[in-house]
Symmetry: D2
Subunit: 134 residues, 4 copies
């Protein structure tokens, strides 16, 4: 994704001012990647034997996937941005990733997909916080 | 929508505790309705002659539609809810509706779809704030 | 939803020609409603005791919710429509609703949320087929 | 994205049988990438001076972004897949990418973001057709 994304940011007629473009690129990419990974983890959990223990994980995966997708798209829209609103959305996304990553971490030793998903959630949470700090 | 939505909330095996069910129902319904209306207003604006004046309106419509959809789905998920996260999402949604409704209001005298959309945004903002207060 | 939706269709600057507006309105409304109901049924199923028996139901609910949302938004966009593409999307949506409704129906006697969801799926499938026939 | 995606597919408890895993991976990745690129191109077009000429491009971008996202998530869900339905969705996605890519191509000489987006659309269309053929 990074290749096209970098080109799209570079060719935008009115790039967001006062924003670290590197942090923005990393956050958009992490959001789309985390949306995919959480959708996948929810589905993989549904295929496991100890399904009952994974209910909270599935639930957080579904919410996190949704918020990451919306946040990735919101950050992609650079024409007439409303930064107060964007910050709230990025903060909500960081919080969703933190909660989902912590739950996935609990199942990481039993399920490799939860281990990978916990990693994707941590990376996205970090990318969100670095964008907020930039 | 209200009919099926009410039945779904009533038949849920673990309904969200400590939440005003009436305020929840109104907020979910308003979110889905506002998502549809904003998608429609962005599209109607694209069909207008004075398109250049409507860029900010289209931009806010697209973002608001996306956030309202995600918020409506997040509130729909009542199993293992994380209220800290949900509150952040509902606040972001209220802020998106406020910004989009204010912009649509500016074009309400020239475009009826903006007048209707401003109304849907205000109703959704209000429903979000009432849920946060409940 | 019907109230704002009807007004948005009526105030659009370039309404879709050669389309039965009544069938279009019903289909958009049914798509958004089914998206909400399927999201809710997946979540309610996650709260049930006999979770293992509901895996296929949850799986179809998640896919149906997603397709219904995308189809409802696609039909909402009336500027420069591509009917070949829209028809394919509405057919895929009808098929998703048929499959999800049939699975929900199997659990309707044990779970009221599956009964309500089966009804929403059937209504949406029917609205899709009536739009395709109109 | 490829890194996490590959791991998620490899660690799934019930991977889709009778499917070329390489073609599946490429198609999921292309769908998420095209969803991001089309969202970005619609937004970049909104920032251009000759906006009126880009209406059809924005319109197709918004629809293509939505369908690619839904298709990427549908292909991600490997538990209890319904291939008849998935094929219809992938076909609709290929058609959306074809239409959007062809329109973007028309503006490729004037707008670099349309050139990049046309490329992403063609890659996604191709990935969809290769998955259908595999």
């Amino acid at each position: 994704m990074a290749h096209h994304l970098q080109q799209m940011l570079a060719t935008h007629p009115s790039p967001a001012a006062n924003v670290n473009q590197e942090a923005l690129l990393r956050c958009i990419e992490a959001c789309f990647e985390c949306a995919q990974t959480c959708t996948s983890c929810a589905d993989a959990c549904l295929g496991e034997q100890n399904l009952q223990m994974l209910v909270r994980c599935i639930r957080l995966n579904l919410g996190c996937a949704d918020i990451c997708g919306t946040t990735g798209r919101a950050l992609t829209r650079q024409t007439e941005p409303d930064w107060t609103l964007l910050k709230q959305q990025v903060q909500a996304c960081a919080e969703a990733c933190r909660a989902c990553g912590a739950e996935c971490e609990k199942h990481a030793h039993h399920h490799d997909h939860c281990r990978v998903c916990a990693e994707a959630c941590r990376m996205c949470e970090q990318a969100c916080r670095q964008l907020l700090a930039a």
